[in-house]
Amino acid sequence: MLSMTPSKKRLAIFIIIGWLLLLASDRVGPLRLYQGSYIATYTLAVASIILLTGYSGQLSLGHGALMAVGAYAGALAIGKAMLHPVLGLVAAALIAGLFGLILGFAVARLSGPYLAGTTLALAVALPTLANQFDVLGGQQGLPLDVGSSPEGFGEDFSQYKWYFWICALAALIMIWAIANLVSSKYGRIYRALRDNPIAAELSGINVGRQKVLAFAISSGAAGLSGALLVILLGGVSPSAFPLGVSFFVLTGAIITGLYNLKGVILGGLILVALPEIADALASRIGGSEGLTNSLPDFLVSALLILAVVFTPNGPGKIFKRSH
């Protein structure tokens, strides 16, 4: 271990995690596989927000819209154009990334609340655009069936195991890419952008270009997570990406700690685990319909406030002295 460079060590860790996950998928039932797929998907979405907001300092309230772009792109690529799922996912990420590039240009001059407001409006507007274009399936949306596993895997390879393999591997690969990015010089550039844009500009960084690039990459990752999400839903429709999705993944990112990619799996885990725990709690208590439906949101929001107040810089930094 001592002789490996950090990037090789990172690659090794990711490969080991991937291999362990695939082994585990053999031993668990559809429920865990389905939950695991969601965890992977949300972890990826959280990672994309950490990149955009935590590292490059641009607050976006519209990640749901970016996920929707990737979702529709994936549905069209795999469903209509009949591409292989892997190719389709790559296409989804690229198209979402391209969209992010354009969007990044459009909002490059905006900052703070103006950026937040524009991304918020986008989050509300984009899904309804699908109603306008028949090729996007209107309100009904487009079905997306990645089918069952390829024949080579044998009969016992259930639909859910197939989902899990796709989601876990896609998320792992993309997060590994992002992790490499932020450990490289780009990571330092982004942090400079975030903390002191004027100084960054003075030291020769093209602030505008870097912001746009960060936006594009983050959008690509978000788009990929959106495509994974609709694989799990079996289709994409405007109602799959309401405003709540943007807030939901932002919450996950804050709870994880916006400024460090290391704990990102925690974000995905909490986003899936907390509603499940709330669901179980509510049915044990036997509360009213209102309780059952609202308890998950209550717990998530409470955790968000606690996280922001007590561990604003991420759970790891409680013990950190100020620099």
Partner: protein
Amino acid sequence: MIKSIRMKRLSIVSALVATSAMLLSTLPAQAAQTTGVTVSEIKLGISSPTSGSAGLVYGKVPGAMKAYFDYINANGGVYGRKIKLVHRNDKYTVKGAAASTFDLVYKDNVFALTGALGTATHQSGYKAAGMAAENVPDLFVNSGWSGFNDKNKDYPTTFMVLPTYAMEAKVMAKVIKDNFPGQATFLVVQNDEFGDDAAAGFAAAGHKMTKTFPYPQGGMDISVGRTILQGISEIPGKPVVVLFGTGDATVAMLKAAEELSMTKKFTWLAGSVGADANTLLALKVKPDTIDGVLSASFMPDAKDLTDPYVKQFSAINTKYNKGIVFDNYVLAAMNSAMLTVQALRAAGKNLTRDGLIKAIETKGSKFASAGLVPLGYSSDSRIGYNGYWVSQINAKGEGKPYGGKLAIYTTDSGAGVVKKDDPPYVRPTMPKNGIPTNS
């Protein structure tokens, strides 16, 4: 590096805590011999909306089914087993239905689904829960989308009960042709497969709409209604407006007409999905507005207590579903519940999923029910009822046969003609006290 060790420890501990909490709280129950069936209980599941605008209209469905099942449980159950109905609120969204249906199958471990509500919602839920692969019976779905009749490909375990939307549209087309020739006609539908099915039915009957107004599911409200009506306010004569949406959409359109004082300017034809008069009145549509509205139904009117089925279900509702007004949705829900009980009985004491599916295929067409048209189950058809009679609502919320005399029309979802049932279909006698004894 003390900082990073502590950080790693904290992250690992938090991850472990979250994971174990989730695992413990969602432990799947012990699987029985057949999932959802024990020596004393049969667990059924229903995914339907009980909140939001759809919940306002269809929220009564799970409670009504449960009331009927409670009645049966109090009278011996099904071969001694009590029926337990688990309901999950899917909020009438695709995402909600995917989660609800999945949870019913893999967390609640139900034996079968019954009464799943909605077209796009159930399409998503069926797939997300892998019901085809798991062979989970999908009984009497609350949707008229003809695509659910698909035993050989996408929906191998699904049984419809409502006549298809295409059938209803064809009957409506005949009514328009016979009674309102020469008037302009307009269709207000959801812009998804629910609406497509209706539009296809009108087309199959050879009827061309003057204009169609599609709207997104959940996207009809009074201001949208006003825009539509203002657009057609200058048409001469008395145009026919077909409202083929859910109850909340019908309410929105009628209220918009009230605000524009256009209620008597059009002949209203409301699709059975969204036309229960009592619900319309409960949601504050004025009695004068609903007076004269035409609708289609395949069941007796819920206010017609001379009908033995209506009388029996109404009595059960009073005793087991306290506080809920008996209307057409409650009637339909209890009817489906009675069909469900007969299906479970027909499958025998040794209850399996395959057995249940086979039982409906072979014996389902003979089940007793309140419907005024026959049930079409067979080894290659999963269609339930296949026809409608046309009703006219009055200001009291009663639906009486249009034209005075009851005329029942049957047809198919395709190019077949609409036939008047003469002599009219005779229903199987209702089992004594509404408790099935079939086998």
